[in-house]
């Protein structure tokens, strides 16, 4: 028990927590934006892979790091547009469309990687983002700018959702699209915009993995983080502030299990620690299931003129 407190007292631990949380924060915010508008986006897992690959490839090809991030966001936006076309334009099943995009984006990324680097044994690396030492704040100074971006996005998204007309429109189309249409707001336009923006953020979450957390692109890099974000959104009751909290909480347990593994202080097989994040996600879903106040129009396709 004392070792536990020792562990928690070390700043290294909290640095790791924040680092682990970053892609989760970004991914969860991205899903949140889509779902607030009433659309489930299961393409997140694939979009994160694509963002990781595309951003990294751009930087490997000589672009500056922030350009790589922009490329990742753009790739996310493109897949988001596809998802919007399928689910908003054609009113196809949101589940199947999202899964199809995950499969497609992942396959395209792996293909692109192999085409670009046919015969490598060790993954080629880039120079990732450096820590923000110029920032005097402890723990935060040992993070990269993308973490700062993630943290800033939380209040920004909160502001947009709750204090701008477009945010209100997004929330309305996710609750009662007929009401929005009846007040002169185009449901298709708003939903598409939200999906594209959310997917762009998901792309950035992927880029964090290759341009910040690590410095190369691996297969199975995302490893289910996208699905965890989908669970976290429910846990966060679709609110940006709670999303941050959920991501941090989750990262806390993830960092904890890593430390416990390493310290060797337990006889449990390491796999049980690795399982913890996924089990926690399921538990979180079950806990909030009863009282989850879903955006009321979530997953219901809207056909204009059909009442």
């Amino acid at each position: 028990m004392i070792e536990l407190f020792d562990m928690l007292a070390q700043p290294d631990f909290w640095i790791a927590v924040l680092r682990i949380a970053t892609p989760l924060i970004l991914g969860t915010l991205g899903v949140l934006l889509c779902e607030r508008a009433g659309v489930l986006n299961l393409g997140i897992e694939g979009i994160m892979v694509a963002g990781a690959f595309a951003g990294w490839l751009a930087v490997y090809g000589g672009a500056p790091l922030w350009a790589g991030v922009a490329v990742a966001a753009a790739i996310g936006a493109v897949f988001g547009l596809l998802h919007a076309f399928l689910t908003v334009g054609l009113a196809l099943s949101q589940h199947v469309s999202g899964l199809g995009i995950t499969l497609l984006a992942t396959a395209l990324s792996y293909y692109g990687y192999r085409v670009s680097f046919p015969k490598v044994s060790t993954p080629p690396t880039v120079t990732p983002f450096a820590n923000m030492d110029w920032l005097g704040i402890p723990i935060l100074a040992q993070q990269t700018p993308l973490t700062l971006l993630a943290l800033l996005l939380v209040p920004i998204l909160g502001y947009v959702l709750y204090r701008t007309p477009v945010g209100l429109a997004i929330r309305m189309v996710g609750e009662n699209p007929a009401a929005a249409e009846g007040q002169g707001v185009s449901v298709a336009f708003v939903r598409t915009g939200a999906i594209v923006a959310g997917s762009a953020v998901m792309g950035i979450a992927g880029a964090f993995l290759t341009l910040s957390a690590f410095n190369a692109f691996f297969f199975n890099m995302v490893n289910g983080r996208g699905w965890i974000c989908v669970a976290l959104v429910v846990f966060a009751s679709w609110r940006p502030g709670k999303a941050l909290l959920g991501a941090l909480l989750f990262a806390f347990f993830d960092a904890l299990q890593l430390r416990l593994q390493q310290s060797g202080g337990s006889t449990l097989p390491y796999q049980m620690y690795l399982m913890l994040p996924y089990v926690l996600s399921i538990v979180a879903l079950v806990l909030v299931a009863r009282k989850a106040s879903y955006p009321q129009a979530l997953m219901k396709p809207y056909r204009k003129g059909e009442r």
Partner: protein, 355 residues
């Protein structure tokens, strides 16, 4: 500018059949861009792809071998989706089925149960089915009782199961003769499936898979339970009015679907690998979803779609060795086909109006 969907007055059966084919052709056209990016000649590449998948007895045997687990996971997904139960966990169900097969047929078969091989074989299959069924039962009950969406829960379970397999392979089910390589105890030789064509890997699991496809088709079409599944999936409210027990149907469907995926794991172990390893399934569970959608949720169509997809995957392996186009082209083709088929099928029912 906006689009608007208008239902077509008359559906057309021919269109429904042509839609998947047209979609696949469209996909091949689009993936030509990727082939070109890899610097290979398009027609040569596709030629090698087809030849590698279907062009020789050996190629065909490899393709059919690959198709076996796909047929089973495809059936698992088909049954579930027919009832509007989104089973995305076939991958995990496959692995627990494989573990159960080895647990009964490898470990205890060798050191515990004193049963004639036929009985042990049957027990093994039963254990695998049960393992898969129970794994999906959890998410199904969570949905029925607490309204928890089964998509995310089944997805997350996949990761948990894979870690569990790794744990088993490191510990209780470790193969003592493998010198550190993570694989399980081997299955008893008596329980291995016999080969259909000598000098190839094609095993009698193909017959079993095809028989199951027929059984699933017959079940859906000719049994009361099959009717219940179709009715609940199409219109749960009307089904309830007609007296169909909705919750019970969903739970039983979940168990059947999980069992089929679990059997996929058992058949892979008994027919192809003899061991459980961490990489024995390159995503068969997820590919099963694509196959189910390509087959438009028709059990017999699942067999055809499985052969197609397996052919793509096998063909890509040999094509890649020859031409240098990465094997992932097959995954791209398969994923893009899925989306294209969805769009094409929709267009047979609706017309798009642009304003």
């Amino acid at each position: 500018m906006s689009m608007r969907l208008e239902k077509r007055a008359t559906g057309s059966a021919a269109a429904l059949l042509l839609a998947p084919i047209g979609a696949v052709l469209f996909t091949l056209l689009v993936s030509s861009v990727l082939v070109w990016w890899a610097g290979a000649a398009v027609t040569q590449t596709y030629g090698l792809l087809l030849k590698g998948g279907f062009g020789s007895v050996f190629a065909l045997s490899e393709t059919l071998t690959r198709a076996i687990p796909l047929i089973l996971t495809g059936l698992a997904v088909t049954v579930a989706f027919k009832a509007r139960l989104f089973n995305i966990g076939a991958e995990g169900q496959l692995y627990v089925g494989a573990l159960a097969a080895v647990a009964v047929g490898g470990m205890h078969g060798g050191s515990g149960f004193d049963l004639p091989p036929m009985m042990l074989f049957a027990l093994m299959l039963l254990a695998s089915s049960l393992a898969g069924a129970l794994l999906l039962l959890g998410p199904a009950l969570l949905r029925a009782r607490m309204g928890v969406d089964e998509v995310v829960t089944t997805l997350l379970l996949n990761f948990i199961v894979l870690l569990f397999v790794s744990m088993m392979l490191d510990g209780p089910m470790k193969d003592p003769t493998a010198m550190g390589w993570p694989q399980s105890v081997a299955l008893l030789g008596d329980l291995e499936l016999s080969k259909l064509v000598s000098q190839t890997r094609l095993h009698s699991g193909l017959i079993g898979a095809c028989v199951l496809a027929l059984l699933v088709w017959a079940m859906l079409k000719y049994t009361v339970f099959g009717f219940d599944i179709r009715a609940v999936g199409a219109n749960a409210r009307a089904a309830a009015f007609a007296g169909v027990p909705v919750t019970r149907t969903v739970v039983l469907t979940a168990m059947l679907s999980g069992a089929l995926a679990g059997l996929a794991g058992a058949v892979e172990v008994a027919g192809r690998t003899s061991y459980v390893t961490l990489d024995m399934s390159p995503g068969y569970g997820y590919t099963g979803i694509v196959i189910a959608m390509l087959a438009a949720l028709h059990p017999l169509g699942v067999v055809a779609a499985s052969v197609f997809v397996a052919g793509m995957l096998v063909g890509a392996d040999s094509m890649s060795r020859a031409v240098g186009v990465p094997t992932f082209i097959a995954d791209v083709i398969v994923a893009a086909s899925l989306i294209a088929v969805l769009v094409a099928t929709l267009l047979t029912q609706y017309r798009v109006r642009w304003k």
